[in-house]
Symmetry: C2
Subunit: 353 residues, 2 copies
């Protein structure tokens, strides 16, 4: 069955039209129905007549709102809110929100809501490395997270790797300051113990144990679990260092005529290397743990990145990533148990604990 | 007055003789007396007859001991313990321990002991960047740290920057997942508030506020404060990403004959760039908050790095980094107050709280 993807277009640095161009590419590549939310005229100028792509006029953007949760409540007509509500209303299967992590998380929690048994949704980001991408989870949805939450993040990341990234038996690791099980904060030590128990002899996940910061880029694991504070710092440090090294190499390659000639000769190979670590390739960050999958491509992505996000969102929905997370957590007894009062009253799956 | 530096030589990857070569270089560069601890014959083969360098036979190494605190207690004759005890005994002013952070910290706490009013010693590491080095503190001495501890780390890093790194008015920042004061864990938010108060209109420290991971490598601050867990992860991620990018560029430069020629022409400039981000330049990690300064150069350093560590340890002692930390903390009321019982009994400055 064709998957319907609701796409908010208003948070892209290059403007809504660039997201529409991405939708056009996605529609040509996959059996997917796409509904674009944003300024109608601007979007129609790109996708009018493109089969499988529809437009809903929702020009108001809250992508840059300083208080996303407040903005989501105050502006039900905002493009992000309308896109995400189309999923909770059953009009779309999954959502893609360009460049607005905070509002996507807030609107997702409010309208799509947490999946049953999930403590907290998390943001999983497949990071480009020299080899296969490494999925870091959480990269910022939960600045503070309890051990039970982190255990669930491990299963979320593994399900994403299997369904969207094509890793049949993902290797899951925990980020710490040493490989020994005793290393880390008391919470990290506890997560190590819990994940180790739950992933021992697991049929389709391999438990790596602790990895250190330098292992993230080296591909020692497919999924690296951490809290949203450390995950955000890790991600930003990676961006900053890559940028600094690239700047340094560029400065070296323009420092004198001989080096300039060398840089010129090397450029095509360096460009291929750069393309091989393209952050747009994996479509962006994945919002996991809601009743539907969401993808948040970075605001600075080009049409290619938005196209990838749309195709991979559909693929994740098709691969039933949400069901897989639930089944895996249930099998190891790591679903959130509803509080006694909620059981008595019938678990209403309340969005806060 | 000539500063005496006690140097443990047994933790270097290249062996004790390499540290001795570093001592020889240091003795030629600075007015410093150096006492080397390690296997006597091996050390004497390098430094015999070199003015200002002495040797103490202490062949036992606990640099790789799995439980550093236990090893320090069990092996008072170990080279690290003897070097550090020579400081507490008043025979040396400051210590340099090659490649053994854990034992240096354990022996430092046990024998040199915490400086008065300090909650916890911390490891400060000046990181090479494209511009001036950025000092990250703590990089692993305290996996868990309270807000009051982190406040002290900020002043420790600033004192190091002033006395050892030559920054007259260091810019101090707090690592978080966003620049706004409300970003971060509740502890980070509290540290932001406390540091902001204590550094407002400070005579010789500038308060930057929060910085994100990408700002570490960009030089947005001279000193970046964080807990030892996040600091260790940050440091390792930086190492891993630099390594991965260098590997990628090297692969690109050997992928075909044209690229190889380009790589060859570019090589001298790239080597100069590499030298400009030399981790050995700053001497290693600085152990701050003890009664004497300690420096821990990385075990994989060469003689040049060990020489830098020795010269900079002497410079830090000469610049009274320990006194400066105390004076700065006292001025803003951020010294640890002894518990009431200790006041009654006379504060014995106990090593644990």
């Amino acid at each position: 069955m064709t998957v319907t993807v609701a796409v908010d277009t208003t948070g892209a640095d290059l403007g809504p039209a660039e997201v529409a161009e991405g939708a056009k590419l996605a529609a040509a590549r996959a059996d997917v129905r796409i509904v674009l939310f944003g300024p109608e005229a601007e979007l129609r100028a790109v996708v009018d007549g493109v089969p499988g792509v529809e437009v809903v006029d929702a020009p108001l953007s809250i992508a840059k709102a300083p208080d996303p949760a407040l903005a989501v409540r105050q502006h039900p007509e905002a493009s992000i809110v309308r896109a995400i509500r189309s999923v909770s209303a059953g009009d779309a299967d999954t959502f893609v929100v360009a460049g607005a992590t905070g509002p996507a998380l807030a609107a997702g929690l409010m309208h799509v809501r947490r999946a049953k048994g999930i403590h907290r949704p998390a943001l999983a980001l497949p990071l480009p490395t020299l080899g296969d991408p490494v999925t870091l989870v959480d990269v910022g949805a939960n600045v503070e997270a309890r051990p039970d939450h982190l255990v669930q993040f491990g299963f979320m990341g593994a399900a994403l790797a299997r369904t969207v990234l094509g890793v049949p038996r993902p290797r899951v690791a925990l980020l710490s300051n040493g490989e020994e099980p005793t290393k880390g904060t008391s919470d990290v030590v506890e997560v190590h113990r819990l994940l180790g128990e739950r992933l021992a002899d697991h049929p389709h996940i391999e438990w790596v144990g602790n990895v250190e910061g330098n292992d993230v880029a080296s591909g020692a694991a497919d999924v690296v679990v951490t809290d949203g504070f450390t995950g955000n710092v890790t991600l930003k440090v990676m961006e900053g260092v890559s940028q600094a090294v690239v700047t340094g190499v560029r400065q070296a390659a323009t420092s004198n005529p001989v080096a300039m000639l060398g840089g010129l000769l090397l450029k095509p190979s360096l460009n291929r290397f750069k393309a091989s670590i393209d952050p747009e390739a994996s479509g962006g960050a994945y919002l996991l743990g809601l009743k539907s999958l969401g993808v948040v491509p970075h605001g600075r992505f080009s049409r290619e990145g938005f196209a990838r996000a749309i195709v991979l969102a559909a693929q994740g929905h098709d691969g039933r990533v949400t069901d897989l997370i639930h089944a895996d957590l249930e099998a190891v007894g790591a679903l959130r148990r509803p509080p006694a009062s909620a059981v008595a009253a019938g678990d209403r799956d309340r969005p806060s604990e």
